[in-house]
Amino acid sequence: MTLVPKPREFPVSAAAAAVLLPVAVGLVFFYAPVERTMGVVQKIFYVHLALALTAFWSFGVSAVAGIGYLVRRDPLWDARSATAVELGVVLTTLVLVTGSLWGRPIWNTWWTWDPRLTTSLILWFIYAACLILRASVDDPTRRATFSAVMAIAGFVDVPIVFLSARLMRSIHPTVIRSDSVGLEPAMIATLVVCLAAVFALWLALFRVRCGLHRQEAALDAVDARLDRAGA
């Protein structure tokens, strides 16, 4: 009988997120200059890019944690993989929403089949399917194994998704290139703070949700023991 360890009393990531998120919002609205052609609509970019990078990171974590589970067979890795999938789906949903909000005034359309949009949408579908799979299996070991297989199978699809999405005509702005960054220094500073804020939020949510998964598992184990004792 293992009880889940109590989380640390002072989660650093949560504190960092609590400080950084308001600062990031403040910088976006009051510090970053207004872009000349797009105007105030461009400000959604800071949030959009930060969410997109964190979402992609989250899917990577889920695949690595999936491998961790298949190798170690430790429920902790399953909790990590499940949490990363959940956070990745939520963040990708926000990426698609913020992108659409920007695309409507700038591109004059909510949606277009651009490489990056295509990639984000396909990843959203793959990992949303992971969530459906998780909800359809009751046995914890089986659920963990299947989820790990799906998280890995989804992530190895990423190179093909990139290659196929390249066939789409791109109208998406490329702000950060390998040789230059097309941004004012004040914009770069805002972007960096936004990125740090969203990542800190991801870490904090990851910790909390992971703990919740483990507590659920511990509760289920107690439940099963009580059932056996009663029967």
Partner: protein
């Protein structure tokens, strides 16, 4: 040569079952034909379609039909616990994966023998060019579908909702394949010949290789759990 023998034995067994009962192939061909007829009516009944649209219609019919056969390939072993028997046999899980993927490949190919000619009957008007360059595209899509599909059918078969879950899990992974297959097929149907398909073949082949490798590595975990 000896390593291939178990693969052949399981493959031959499944083909024999299929030849005796013809349940998978009949439902796949019938459903695929139905999808083609529905789409023919949906685009206005006998109207000319653009090559790219035609390519999309062909692949929708083939992929929707194929998932029916795919579900059966594995679900059949779940009945009466045949999987456990296969797992305690000297057969390696990797060989089981290869055999099941081959069975699915053969079923898909057999269904396509019916569906591709029917597609030309319903939509052939206005499509230019020799259909022969479609062959490598079809082979690679079948390969990718079978590899990814066999892995996920082992996962779906272990859940309560096999039939519903399999397409939900599989189609998101296949979205890039659909993009590539439609581009390549559209080029061929527009009269571009093999050159039109060639640029997409390497990416489709990469998909096959990735899922053949991922399947061989991950299938043992999924099938033992089922």
């Amino acid at each position: 040569m000896n390593a291939l023998r178990p693969v052949w034995v399981v493959f031959a067994k499944d083909v024999r079952i299929e030849l005796r009962r013809r349940e998978s192939l009949a439902s796949m061909a019938f459903f695929g034909a139905l999808v083609l007829v529905i789409l023919s009516l949906a685009v206005g009944g006998g109207r000319r379609v653009a090559p790219e649209t035609g390519a999309g219609i062909l692949w929708v019919a083939v992929l929707f039909a194929s998932v029916l056969g795919l579900g059966r390939v594995f679900a059949r072993e779940k009945e009466d616990g045949c999987v456990s028997a296969l797992l305690v046999s000297p057969l390696s899980p990797g060989a089981l994966f290869a055999a099941k993927a081959l069975v699915n490949f053969a079923l898909m190919a057999a269904a396509e023998v019916v569906l591709v000619p029917l597609f030309y009957v319903l939509f052939g008007r206005g499509l230019a060019g020799n259909p022969l360059p479609l062959l490598p595209v079809i082979v690679l899509v079948n390969g990718g579908f079978s590899a990814a599909g066999t892995l996920l059918s082992a996962v779906a078969a272990g859940t309560r909702r096999n039939e519903v879950l399999l397409p939900i899990l599989l189609y998101p992974l296949l979205l890039p394949v659909i993009v590539l297959a439609v581009r390549a097929t559209g080029g061929v149907l527009a009269g571009g010949g093999l050159a039109a398909a060639a640029e997409h073949l390497s990416t489709l082949a990469a998909f096959c290789v990735i899922y053949a490798a991922a399947g061989a590595l991950l299938f043992p975990f999924a099938v033992r759990e089922g």
